[in-house]
Symmetry: C2
Subunit: 401 residues, 2 copies
């Protein structure tokens, strides 16, 4: 096992706030990049005021998780001297990341065209709700708007019921993930050609791009996909079902599994019924079959259903709660819950990194910083500022004391 992490040597100048950008730069930081989080003077990232434990200076639980492995630099970007600091840091950066509304970066003098003058090879990524081009580019966006306008909500929710959004900001994480990949692709390209570039990723595009085959069913079958609860397009029983104490997810994907299923619920007679013989017939008779399944599942606890089906190698799973997940033996074995000894919070438990490398173990998780705590260090290490310059900047109130 190698001690060096994959992205060591990459410097990221990160202007992003809340979730889409910070998730992207957390991935870069977890893998070893030197991430400089530039935060608004006085208040910093808005999510410092989010649950749990809002705290502007020391950081909330939200920022302690998403801003680990990042340096906090506190600057007022409206100040000319502060902008000069950004330009000097930019000369040493490989990547710039921002998720302002389109146009704001330009107003602040940190847009691609400006920063490119200081570092022609810079790779600059912008994440926004609708992107930098197109008729909706200036629409205000939050995750719920991206999930509504990108297509997720049209196909999510109870059959004939209201549209439902995923209960976490997947429009943000999905855009952040596309950006993380795009930034590394641009790094690879730059290593070969010396050419940097600008990357424009939107939440609406990212949501729309991950609709699996829904768009193709529209364009080729001319059938409009609708909300259909948790039932599967083709297979039955492939859904969530009530149990005596909760729900259970069951995925009987094919005829072979249905044979096992009929045995598991001690209803071999179902195999004799032509209505249930093939996947297509089971789909045609989904309502009756669902009744039969729930007659059985509701007589058992979720735990019992899972045990019985697992013995038959039938894909099954409980709806795990967040309280169960943070103690789940598999999540723990996968190191998906880590503990960070935090100067402001003691031992903080948070999600780990879902990327597992054989040669470059991802196990370095530096605690998130207090607002602006790393300003002088970053200016010295990356900007090459002298002690005298730093003292003058602190004296003038440009950087924190």
């Amino acid at each position: 096992m190698n001690t060096q992490r994959p992205l060591e040597g990459i410097t990221v100048l990160d202007f992003t706030r809340i979730y889409s950008g910070p998730y992207c730069s957390m991935l870069l930081g977890d893998l070893g990049a030197y991430v400089i989080k530039v935060e608004k003077k006085g208040t910093g990232d808005d999510s410092r005021q989010f649950r749990p434990k809002p705290n502007i200076k020391e950081g909330s639980g939200y920022t302690m998780y998403l801003n680990r492995n990042k340096k906090s630099v506190e600057l007022d970007l409206k100040d000319e001297t502060a902008r000069g600091i950004i330009y000097r840091l930019c000369e040493k950066a490989d990547i710039v990341l921002e998720n302002y509304a389109p146009g704001v970066a330009k107003k602040l003098g940190i847009d691609y065209d400006t920063l490119k003058k200081y570092n022609p090879q810079i790779i600059y990524g912008s994440i926004s709700g609708f992107g930098q081009t197109g008729p909706y580019r200036n629409k205000a966006a939050y995750d719920i708007i991206a999930q509504a306008m990108g297509g997720y909500m049209a196909v999510t929710g109870p059959k004939n019921g209201m549209p439902i959004k995923l209960g976490t900001s997947v429009g943000d994480s999905c855009a952040g993930l596309h950006m993380a990949f795009a930034l590394m692709a641009a790094m690879y390209y730059r290593q070969r050609t010396g050419i940097g570039q600008y990357i424009d990723i939107s939440m609406m595009d990212s949501v729309f791009a991950t609709l699996e085959n829904h768009v193709m069913i529209q364009t080729m079958d001319h059938i409009t996909p609708v909300r259909n609860g948790n039932s599967n397009q083709n297979a039955v029983p492939f859904n969530t079902f009530r149990t005596s104490d909760d729900y259970v997810a069951i995925a009987v994907a094919n005829d072979a599994l249905f044979e096992k299923f009929a045995q598991a619920i001690q209803r071999p007679d179902l195999l004799e019924n032509p209505d249930y013989k093939t996947t297509n017939n089971r789909k045609l008779h989904e309502d009756e079959l669902t009744k039969i399944v729930e007659e059985w599942t509701t007589k058992h606890t979720t735990k019992e259903v899972c045990q019985i089906f697992e013995d038959y190698k039938i894909p099954v799973g409980p709806i795990l709660g967040i309280d169960q997940l943070v103690e789940d033996p598999h999540i723990l074995a996968r190191e998906m819950m880590i503990e960070v000894d935090h100067p402001y919070g003691g031992k903080i438990r948070m999600p780990g990194c879902p990327i597992k490398f054989s040669e470059t173990k991802i196990d370095h998780f530096a605690p998130s910083s207090a607002l602006g705590a790393d300003t002088a260090q970053v200016l010295r290490e990356i900007g090459g500022y002298t002690q005298k310059e730093l003292e003058d900047l602190a004296e003038a109130g440009i950087i924190p004391r």
Copy 2:
């Protein structure tokens, strides 16, 4: 604008099926990688038999979309000679990608330890439901199981209602996106160190890693996040609301927006009511305020609500259907709907690439291949096979004629 795409020069040996892996390798192919899709002899990727327009040989709409920009090589991996072909191709590959159940790649003789012997610098990515380690590693997984066991369904659905999964396989796309980033990070690392490696990514980990702050609310506030419809943790009104003809998403994120909102619905009196003065108070009186909002929204169409709120710069959006999205002016302007002239389907409309580069436009979309159509070409181009060798292999029935 440069004509070379960012990942040109990278060769990918892709054993993945259906969605998680193919979405990952589609991103690599769209960005210029040479992707060799190795398909099962006779039937190929199972998704060739999925909607729309199932067709094993020519491909379904599902495979036409997700397997554009890929070569199709048809081989029986259980055959020793066919495995020999894989080893010879592997010598020239940079990346190997697979999403079999853990253990299957080893049975087929295409696992990391085996392929590393033929190419010590290979970067090998495995996507699975639960990963290669941990107590659940051998559990059968489908997207619904990953969404159920990873935490999404615990927080998705109507308040006090049933758990709902996102209506598209986000467990797959989220894992594929983490892998696409991880593969490029490993490429960057290999360029610097010459060291290849193995990457293990699971759907459950990927879902759990994208729960935003839900895990932190559990570990720091000891409050278990639950299903809460579309309402926001903090802000009100920040939800979906009924209109006279459908629903609308509204995001009044702060007090300034609420003032505009009260004016927009001509209820300035709400600003005088202490119950609605601050975000916290509005949250405490969410039910009453929601009634007031829907009294107004249900008197207007979604289109009217959107127009009125946009004039006030209040974040708002309709729940766009897939039928609307494929003709949406913004989606079209963003080139998120492309047309591929397909030898087997005429002009096929499908989603474009959500990554927009300034220097390396992503506009090359080669149609997906018939099953095995590129076998000889790939063996010649990448494996260096002679015409004689190819004829003998076809003669022996190892590769298609």
